[in-house]
């Protein structure tokens, strides 16, 4: 099969996510040209969290591994970038490439240690790991964290870079999903034993996806740090581990489309709700949303939309 045909097949299989991603990026570009900085920041926030939640989705929906501490690679990506740029004075491009790799290394290694644990333990172990990072970063760089005083890159360039990074990220995830690897991963999630008897090296894939997931989470963190020019210990706080979960769950955990929906909605709300009703109530509402969705409508928003679309028309 030629490359084009394979490409076409992939897009066919996941046409909804693909169109969503495309629309998002078109909007993103348009937002830039309108020049509304608040809108731009909203989009950049959205993109970082989209990438973070997609990375969590990848880990959870594709290998069944629960991470209650995904703030770890997210924060490591952010901190690495800041350290590379402000303390070590690396060239921006190099820093941007290295930071997510560091996140992948850290997240993947930590994840590697948890693979043999049963799911409940694994989730908590990762939570502990993110707390360790929380404390270490607080103790090492204090409450002020690391900031980039000087604008190393022009605003427009930052925007463009983030756009590019996340485009690559989302498309990679999309392609992996619909590829042969995606199929193997789905099989592993369903039944690791049966997969093994079919020749799939379960451990290898589980580890691989941990590194991949951490890489993407780190990418999200790097983007976040890039536009805020700052990283401090709060990036490792629990809400950053909880938000991606909330986004995926509310949107619909079965598919990438759900993840995109959930993260867009929650991110947008995050920019507006805290101003209206305060941060505490925003999180309270998110908590309720998650509980509600899990209890009443586990298929999430996406499930609700699908059902609405496939309902037969009234009447004869």
């Amino acid at each position: 099969m030629s490359v084009f045909e394979e490409l076409k097949q992939h897009i066919e299989r996941g046409k909804v996510s693909f169109s969503l991603i495309s629309i998002l990026f078109v909007l993103f570009v348009i937002a830039f040209f309108t020049g509304f900085s608040y809108l731009c920041y909203t989009f950049m926030y959205l993109i970082s969290y989209l990438v973070l939640s997609a990375s969590w989705y990848l880990l959870y929906s594709y290998s069944g591994q629960l991470s209650l501490g995904h703030a770890l690679p997210f924060g490591v990506g952010a901190f690495s970038l800041m350290i590379f740029l402000s303390r070590l004075n690396f060239h921006p491009i190099i820093a941007l490439i290295l930071a997510p790799l560091v996140a992948a290394a850290v997240g993947g290694t930590v994840g590697l240690t948890t693979i043999r644990l049963r799911p409940a333990y694994q989730g908590i172990a990762l939570l502990i790991a993110s707390q360790v990072a929380f404390w270490i970063s607080l103790l090492q760089v204090g409450e002020e964290g690391i900031s980039l005083g000087v604008q190393i890159l022009a605003g427009g360039h930052i925007y463009g870079i983030i756009l590019l990074i996340s485009l690559i990220c989302m498309l990679s995830i999309f392609f992996v999903e619909n590829s042969k690897i995606g199929l193997k991963l789905k099989a592993i999630k369903e039944d690791g034993l049966a997969s093994q008897s079919l020749g799939i090296n379960v451990t290898y894939y589980k580890i691989l996806i941990f590194f991949a997931s951490s890489f993407f989470a780190g990418l999200g963190g790097t983007s976040f740090a890039l536009y805020t020019s700052h990283a401090d210990y709060t990036i490792f706080s629990i809400p950053n581990s909880f938000l991606p979960i909330a986004m995926v769950v509310v949107g619909g955990s079965g598919e990438l489309t759900g993840c995109i929906l959930g993260s867009v909605i929650i991110s947008i709300l995050m920019r507006y709700l805290p101003i209206k009703i305060g941060l505490p109530w925003t999180y309270i509402i998110y908590g309720f949303l998650v509980v509600l969705v899990l209890k009443i409508y586990p298929a999430g928003l996406l499930g609700a939309i699908k059902r609405a679309l496939t309902k037969k028309p009234e009447g004869g």
Binding site: L68, A120, I124, V132, P239, A246, P280, I284, V291
Partner: protein
Amino acid sequence: MISAQLISSLLAGIAYGLTLSLIAAGLSLIYGVMKIVNTSHGAFYILGGFFCFSFISFFHLPLFVSILLTATVTFVIAAGVVYYVLPANLRVTVDPDGQNTVMITFMALATIVEYLLLFTFGGSSVAVPSILPGSIEIFPGVFIVNQLLLVSIVSLFIYLALYLFLKYTRLGRGIYAFAQNKELAEALGLSGGFLACVTFGIGCTFASTSGALLASVFSINSSAGWSVLPLAFVIVTLGGIGNIFGSLAGGLIFGIVYSVGLFFIQAYSIVMVLLVMYGILLIKPTGLLGGLVERV
């Protein structure tokens, strides 16, 4: 060089560890029956502290009454959560997807609690007044804060009560049996859903009581929950998951390591402890003392 200060530190650590064992025991209990790690355990801890504070400050109730009241209210809330929020099929489940769902649900609830408290009380810490102010000098130069001593003794009593409950009451024996062998217990007529409600109630009550007690020694703020949960978890792991009394040993070990670490290294001790515990979790996931063998 063993100085009087080090011993004081050690004693404080042990007392602290003993009280934390209570939280760990609660976590262990919940895991034994529901097969999940209670991600909202830390939330109940801080809830306990804040409830106790409220009862004392707003209703002017004495300390012990407040603690009892806190325990009761927590039990009702916790059991209610299992009853009303968790669908029946998820109360006791060995299916990983189900377990993950429950853990995520509890994490969401913990978030709700944390931010409700943040909203109600602001970001400041609260403390409950001690009833035994001052400290006692055990040996020349070796001090321990009275209240801390009292609190740890109370914790031991509660632990004893737990032991008696599990061994001598029907309900307690039922819980213990269920944790050992779910199928057998169900075949003998024990209802998993009911036991889940009760056990979750008891477990969270332990967490909140511990929080109430420790609020009389230290102060508590709304973000303390997420610091306590890892500690409780590693104590449980040290002692052996499912082994309720292993948590006691785990708490002791933690107390000693933490206080020694605090004495010599200060700031990083919590990181050190977490890392040590993380290491143990990896090497022997069923805990140092083994305990009940886990069914996969």
